[in-house]
Amino acid sequence: MIERVHEHITSELTVNTRTDTIFVLTAIFLNLITLGINSIIASSNGDSTQTIVMFTFVALIIVVNSVAEVGLIRGRQMRKKLLNGLLKMYKDQGVEGYYDSSLLSDYTIRYNLFMLTVLFTGLIAIVIPFIIR
């Protein structure tokens, strides 16, 4: 039974990693695409329609980045819970010495860096077109 639980936890960790990767890549990709589109809009004739389109893309950036950040926070919490369970399991089996518990804090730092990257690309995608305009 414990092997089944172990398999389940490791498969959950794999899905969690994949989901978080999708969140980060999608957010960064969308930020860069929006940066390009809004920069083109900002450098062209600034009529009211284009301003509305520009602000719509800004709203899209805010929504996508918020979703990505919440998703990454949840992913980080989920990973922490899964790894805690895994560590407890290893402890019960007397093999905890093979798994360094400091990995938990390393994952937290990595998640925070991912969030910072998403946030900064989002901020750049918002600010640069307004500077060009």
Binding site: A42, N45, G46, V127, P129, F130, I131, R133
Partner: protein, 153 residues
């Protein structure tokens, strides 16, 4: 036929009317701000061999633009001489960003000459920079709130 025939000599002495208008190269595609003055200088030159009288200067401009030429007329311009005129351009304050062409015309009874320049209207960007910075600060604050609130759960 000899090249020095009386006919050719008479032809060589014929009055030549040649008026040119010249703007400095940096005035082409110059950036202007809606509602704000921009002064250009234009040289009106008589390249011919006869005097040109009563040159009237005018501008063909986009709607809502003000173009003032000082002086707007030159009483006479002798052969080989030139005069510089000031052109004050004020794009309308509600003009959208883009490229606009202003054509400058010089008309005299003997000749007519035109030159044009493309000006790039660019709104005073400080307003939009503040808007952008404001949105960015709000987004950063929102992220911080999300981070602190959801991160603790």
């Amino acid at each position: 036929m000899s090249l020095l025939s009386p006919y050719n000599l008479l032809f060589a002495q014929e009055d030549k009317v040649d008026l040119s208008l010249r703007l400095l190269p940096e005035y082409y595609y110059k950036e202007v701000v809606p509602g704000k003055n921009t002064t250009l200088f234009m040289e009106v030159r008589n390249n011919g061999n006869t005097i040109i009288n009563d040159i009237r200067l005018s501008a063909d401009k986009p709607e809502e633009w003000v173009v003032e030429i000082i002086p707007d007329s030159i009483s006479y311009l002798s052969a080989g001489s030139s005069q510089t005129v000031d052109i004050t351009i004020v794009p309308g304050s509600n003009i959208p960003n883009g490229e606009y062409t202003v054509t400058l015309l010089a008309e005299a009874s003997e000749t007519r000459m035109a030159t044009s320049t493309t000006l790039r209207v660019k709104s005073d960007s400080s307003f939009w920079i503040w808007i952008g910075m404001g949105v960015a600060v709000l987004v950063a604050a929102g992220f911080l709130i999300i981070f602190l609130r959801f991160g603790r759960q």
